[in-house]
């Protein structure tokens, strides 16, 4: 891969590049959750909704691990941004503990 491509943002919200992600993988951080915590990829506004799968694929390719092993196990409420005033809505109470 050309070196320029390594500067491509994999997580746009937090501006994390392919290079940073590959470096973290090579240091032994080999799940999406590990990568998120060491690079902040997936911690921004969209909470990894766009980059989680891409990061999982990069890890799987680089380590030979199956996708299921590197993907996060569960998703927690809120799955998308919610205004604080959401507590005033009836439906809020129907959201699930996680």
């Amino acid at each position: 891969m050309a070196d320029d491509d390594k500067d491509m943002f994999i997580c746009r919200c937090e501006e994390v590049t392919l290079r940073e992600i590959e470096q973290a993988i090579d240091e032994g951080f080999v799940t999406v959750t590990d990568i998120k915590r060491v690079t902040r990829a997936g911690m921004g506004l969209c909470q990894g909704r766009t980059c989680t799968k891409t990061i999982a694929r990069i890890i799987a390719q680089r380590t030979g691990k199956p996708l299921e092993e590197v993907l996060p196990k569960s998703y927690r409420y809120p799955v998308r941004p919610e205004k604080l005033q959401v507590v005033e809505n009836e439906e809020f109470n129907d959201a699930k503990d996680s």
Partner: protein, 391 residues
């Protein structure tokens, strides 16, 4: 397969990594063993404060000053700011009774050398224009600082590894056995065995389970804290914020603070801190629910309602995530740090409750000094795990 080392550190949270880092710098060959991924414990689900104001004069406050200095040298050594910031903090006071208790507390802290004062409504408004009008006074200390726990942990690991430290993850410790020459054999889930003359129990909330493996009493219980995280927003005020409620109940258990039944049972108290990523971490709860790391709708609702009471204009701000962590809490609010009597070579460094981020570098430094048999520091006697040996 057996790995030999000088020291085995069990638990790779911020405390275990700090112990590993400072031991490695003292020339020890160290393996750090963790059952989870990076920052799976409390160190990955907490606020980032190096908080002075919450502490009574005494050992925890003293060690926080020393830790702040060590964080300075660590940042220089790794050539990274590690998300350090010094925004100062305010503890919000809502009625006359809280004011009296906090005034007395502040004067104790001042005589101990902490730079803290009580400020009036006008001063408050200058520092925090969005704050609700019902706040009658506040404390202010410019000492309160913060540092990014993820960055700190990665720095300990990176720099430590460059000196030879080894970290093993996703492979929990399942048993500890002692052999003829006094060495410990530590076995892990996948069957790998680690051997060393020294074992450090740094398993945070889970340290009691590790203690049991060698017959040591380590009375640490999980105290869950939930937090929500906002989207990126411009600064809401100049400082970080807390409510006096939790402190007041800690200082005076006869005082009943103004909380409803639900809020009281989950130990709700306000903490509002700006993180390096320009988001706010807003919390939190203190719940006794065993080892359950889940977030709850009840907890999130209580945190939001509380936030809107103090900062009503935040209604339109989005929150993007909710997290929960287990604070390792001890019966007397102090960590366990030292070697267990009668179990030579077995040390515990755990039980930091709500101060493990603040106290990480000093804990690792002191632990390394103990393992290397430096001359004893008598201030630390009150942290000895042996205070619980006969309980």
């Amino acid at each position: 397969m057996t790995h030999a080392a000088d020291v085995l550190v069990i638990g790779g949270g911020i405390i275990g990594l700090s112990c590993g880092f400072y031991l490695t710098k003292r020339g020890k060959r160290v393996c750090v063993l963790d059952s989870g991924g990076f920052a799976d414990g409390a160190s990955g689900a907490c606020d980032d404060m190096i908080l002075f104001q919450s502490k009574k004069p005494g050992i925890n406050l003293e060690l926080t000053f020393e830790s702040l200095e060590l964080y300075k040298s660590l940042r220089a050594e790794v050539d990274d700011n590690l998300g350090f910031a010094n925004l100062g903090g305010m503890v919000l006071i809502e009625n006359q009774q809280e004011l009296e208790i906090m005034e007395e507390f502040v004067s104790q802290q001042r005589s101990y050398g902490l730079d803290v004062e009580v400020i009036d409504k006008r001063e408050i408004h200058k520092k925090q224009p969005f704050l609700s009008d019902h706040i009658i006074a506040s404390t202010y200390s410019k000492m309160d600082s913060q540092i990014d726990p993820f960055a700190v942990m990665r720095a300990f690991e990176r720099k430590g590894s460059s000196y030879g430290m080894k970290v093993f993850r996703r492979n929990g410790v399942v048993g500890i056995e002692r052999i003829g020459n006094g060495d410990y054999l530590v076995s892990t889930q996948d069957g790998t065995v680690f051997q060393a003359p020294i074992v450090v129990n740094a398993a945070g909330t889970w340290a009691g389970q590790i203690g049991e493996m060698v017959g040591a009493n380590v009375p640490i219980t999980p105290k869950r804290g939930q937090i929500i995280i906002t989207e990126r927003v411009p600064p809401i005020g100049e400082t970080n914020l807390w409510s006096a409620k939790y402190l007041v109940t800690k200082l005076r258990n006869d005082v009943v603070v103004d909380l409803n039944e639900d809020e009281r049972s989950m130990g709700l108290s306000f903490a509002f801190t700006r993180s390096g990523g320009d988001t706010y971490l807003v919390g939190s709860t203190r719940e006794y629910v065993g080892f359950d790391k889940g977030t709850t709708i009840g907890g999130i609702r209580a945190i939001i309602n509380q936030t809107l009471k103090y900062l009503p204009r935040l209604r339109d701000v989005n929150f993007i995530r909710a997290i929960a962590g287990l604070r390792p809490s001890t019966p007397d609010g102090r960590m366990l740090l030292g070697e267990h009597a009668g179990i030579d070579g077995f040390f515990t460094a755990a039980g930091h409750e709500g101060d493990g981020i603040a106290l990480a570098p000093i804990t690792g430094t002191l632990l390394a000094a103990m393992v290397c048999r430096d001359p004893g520091d008598h201030r630390l006697d009150e942290l000895s795990p042996n205070r619980f040996a006969n309980l």
